[in-house]
Amino acid sequence: MASLRAYILARVLLTIPMVLILLTIVFFIMRILPGNPVLAMVGMKASEEQIKTLMKELGLDKPLWQQYLDYLWGLLHGDLGRSMIWGRRPVLQEIWDHFPATVELAVAGFTVSVLLGLLTGSLAAVKRGTLLDAGLRVWGILAYALFIPLLGMFFQLVFGVWLHWFPVAGRKNPLIDVPTITGFYMVDSILAGNPWGVVDALWHLALPSLTLGIVLSGIYTRLVRTSMLQVLGEDFVRALRSRGIPESKILFGHVLKNAFIPVLTMMGLQFALLLAGAVLTETTFSWPGLGTFLVERIEYRDYTTVQGTIVFYALLVSTVSLIVDVIYAYIDPRIRY
């Protein structure tokens, strides 16, 4: 276990250069190229003096390297600074305002993708060599190639506009009154003892998470198929079969379990894709998450907010991949660090 601890420590230390590098890239390209948060903020009529005052107030009059060092110094103290536009709220607060929406979408999309991947992948493996197998393989590739906005619009049109089964935008019905405690609507509804809130939140999640889930399921389909075929060919499966254990029990009791390990590794790697896919899903479904928020703030050159969000994303990605690695290490004792 000591080696695991050392490994974790090394991984944690590795996130520092990652955050620093991404931050540096974003920091400098944003400031060197034209665009200025002050101008986007003040009215068109603002005077030159007013703009200068505001620039000074925001520290934008200092030389670049000093701004950079100031920012790093703040970051070292866990201070992401304040937004440069619209009320100058603390960046961390802005991030927390938008983060729950993204987490809800990501978790739901992730669940859909894994379930769908397991289902199609194992089906393809069991029916190996048949037309169904070939079809499912093509499906796996197609799913990956689907353009999220296209799929999303299709769902909106069919299930929202024509069939009226699901809401097509937003996170909840405005008439269901659930107090905001954590920002996660499902958790809040449970805390408030409002079962309708949970149903409503899930109902709103349906189309976005299906869109995101389908697109991300392609990789799992392929992976589950490959790894199940591998496990099915192993000796212990043959031994189980020879003992007359029913096929379904072998499949669900033993094979799937063993085939799941590579899937777990993939989950860590997929997380970055999940976040990227969430940006497009959020845009298509008017979902007030971190992705759309970032895109909007880049447009206004809200330097501090963009930097903070990038740092946050980087930390998030590293943390998740670390967690997956640790889980993996516990599950598969063959791995030693």
């Binding site: 003040v42 007013q50 809401p167 845009t283």
Partner: protein, 521 residues
């Protein structure tokens, strides 16, 4: 592993059942919408709830519903009527304004509105120096308390439209016990003295208003207003169609408005807007420093095609910077260049400027892709097509994000740009002075300067009566059409699309929706 797999299956099953159950229930009976609740959807956003720093259309709308000012517009008209003041008088040729406040008005925290509070609020705006602070700083010399309910505002010089300025949300008084004296309080929901108060505020998601129990005026018809924020026009329309919202307010796509109108399922309310769109030529960049070039492009502009094809008739061609419906408006560009595209005149002018089919005028036309809605790229493409119809013009279209666009414009780097204007106060001055007065158009890169024009604009600012001012503004508009540094394209109409049972939506050139008039019946 086995346990987690089982758990996974159970979770999945629960989710699937819940979604299906939810879908079935919701299909059967639409969400219970109480009679007294109105849900309004918008693609705008509330930026800053502090009146000392708020400076955009939608935030002003919200502020106008949770606060009020000394004067306000009578709904449906452009007439100003006293609101928080009982009466008022001006002295010294309009230089001094004496406001007699209504007595016994209380903020939601129990503080009474007195002249002290009113002075404190105005001083607060000046001290904070927020974005709209020029409404105070540019005009006001000093504010004094005469007695408990009487306020005396002394201006730097007489301003003929100061009453309209006094009506802007920047002047809305707030309670000293709820707002800090020298700091912006962006998420402050305390409000002022208004028909509604904020009970829930989740940035970018929803804003919930309830009728203010302390409100002195008639009780609002809808007890509760919920505002839902959507990312784009598509989402807004979908929300209306699924019954999630009662009113789809700004801004639907032109095609959505047309098709929703055609469907007959909704009330489509139309009103005259006072927002305008125009082309700006940087007169310091060659060849746009030549008057003939600007005039030629003004003549070659096809306003009718733009209005009908890009905006499907949801906007109106505009021939002056002063919008139609506002006093002193004249169709200056129509008189000079004709109502529709005038290719012959355009070609004549281009030839005069030294261009021809072989030596084409090269135009770099800039637009910004999201700030003015998703139709912007189509607008730029259409203008290119119209200008190129002369056979003597070659247009390259370029685009930049909003903050980049503004900065490059201000630095005078962009030759031809597309901009839009929402009025600050409803007066011709606000549609002319910021564009044409030397120095005031610095935000456009200081392109145009004409001493004669400056003189007319300055005279009109202080002239006491409307008739004199109207005459001056007519001259200004004629000079504008002649010099053509800025060419108007169209004037927007306002549209609100509501469910059939929603009544009382009043749209007028003041453009802000009054929530207290809306009801279900």
């Amino acid at each position: 592993m086995a346990v987690s797999k089982k758990a996974l299956i159970i979770i999945a099953a629960i989710i699937v059942i819940a979604i299906i159950a939810g879908a079935l229930i919701m299909m059967k009976k639409p969400a219970p919408q109480a009679e007294s609740v109105i849900i309004i959807g918008t693609t705008d956003k509330v930026t800053d709830l502090d009146p000392a720093n708020a400076y955009d259309f939608f935030t002003w709308e919200v502020l106008s519903n949770i606060m009020s000012g000394y004067f306000e517009y009578e709904p449906g008209t452009l007439q100003l009527k006293p609101a928080l003041v009982e009466s008022y008088e001006t002295q010294d040729g309009g230089k001094v304004w004496i406001l007699h406040l209504k007595k016994g008005l209380k903020f939601s925290d129990g503080t009474e509105l007195t002249a002290d509070v009113a002075k404190w609020s105005i001083d607060r705006v000046a001290k904070i120096k927020g974005d709209p602070s020029w409404f105070v700083l540019d005009f006001v010399d000093k504010v004094e308390v005469v007695d408990k309910y009487t306020l005396k505002i002394t201006l730097k010089q007489p301003v003929s439209f100061y009453k309209a300025v006094l009506a802007v949300p920047t002047y809305f008084p707030v309670s000293p016990n709820s707002y800090p004296a020298d700091k912006i309080s962006s998420d402050n929901t305390a409000g002022g003295i208004g028909p509604y108060r904020i009970v829930k505020w989740e940035r970018d998601q929803e804003l919930v208003l309830e009728a203010n129990p302390n409100w002195y005026g008639p009780a609002p018809k809808a007890k509760k207003i919920i505002i839902k924020f959507y990312k784009d026009a598509t989402a807004l329309r979908l929300a209306l169609e699924s019954g999630e919202i009662d009113v789809a307010w700004r801004t639907l796509n032109p095609s959505d408005i047309i098709s929703l109108k055609k469907s007959g399922k909704y009330n489509v309310i139309e009103g005259n807007g006072a927002f305008i769109r125009y082309i700006v030529f940087n007169t310091k960049i060659s060849p746009f420093d030549k008057k003939e070039v600007r005039q030629a492009l003004a003549a070659a502009l096809c306003r009718d095609k733009i209005a009908n094809e890009v905006f499907l008739g949801t906007v109106e061609p505009l021939y002056s910077l002063v919008p139609k419906g506002l006093w002193s408006h004249i169709d200056a560009f129509k008189e000079k260049y004709g109502a529709t595209q005038n290719l012959e005149l355009a070609r004549q002018l281009l030839k005069k400027a030294g261009f021809s089919e072989t030596n084409k005028l090269k135009v770099e036309l800039w637009y910004t892709p999201s700030h003015y809605g998703s139709t912007e790229a189509d607008l730029a493409a259409k203008i290119k097509e119209c200008w190129e119809a002369t056979g003597m013009v070659e247009v390259t279209i370029k685009s930049a994000e909003w903050s980049t666009y503004l900065q490059m414009t201000r630095k005078g780097q962009l030759p031809v740009t597309l901009y839009g204007w929402y009025p600050d106060y409803i007066d011709p001055d606000d549609f002319l002075y910021p564009f044409l007065h030397t120095g005031s158009n610095r935000w456009l890169g200081n392109p145009y300067s004409n001493p004669e024009m400056d003189k007319l604009l300055e005279q009109a600012q202080v002239a006491p009566d409307q008739a004199t001012r109207a005459k001056l503004y007519e001259q200004v508009q004629e000079m504008l059409a002649e010099d053509a540094p800025i060419v108007p394209i169209f004037q927007g109409k306002l549209y609100a699309v509501a469910q059939k049972n929603v009544k009382g939506i009043v749209l007028d050139p003041y453009m802000l929706l009054r929530y207290w008039l809306i009801y279900k019946g």
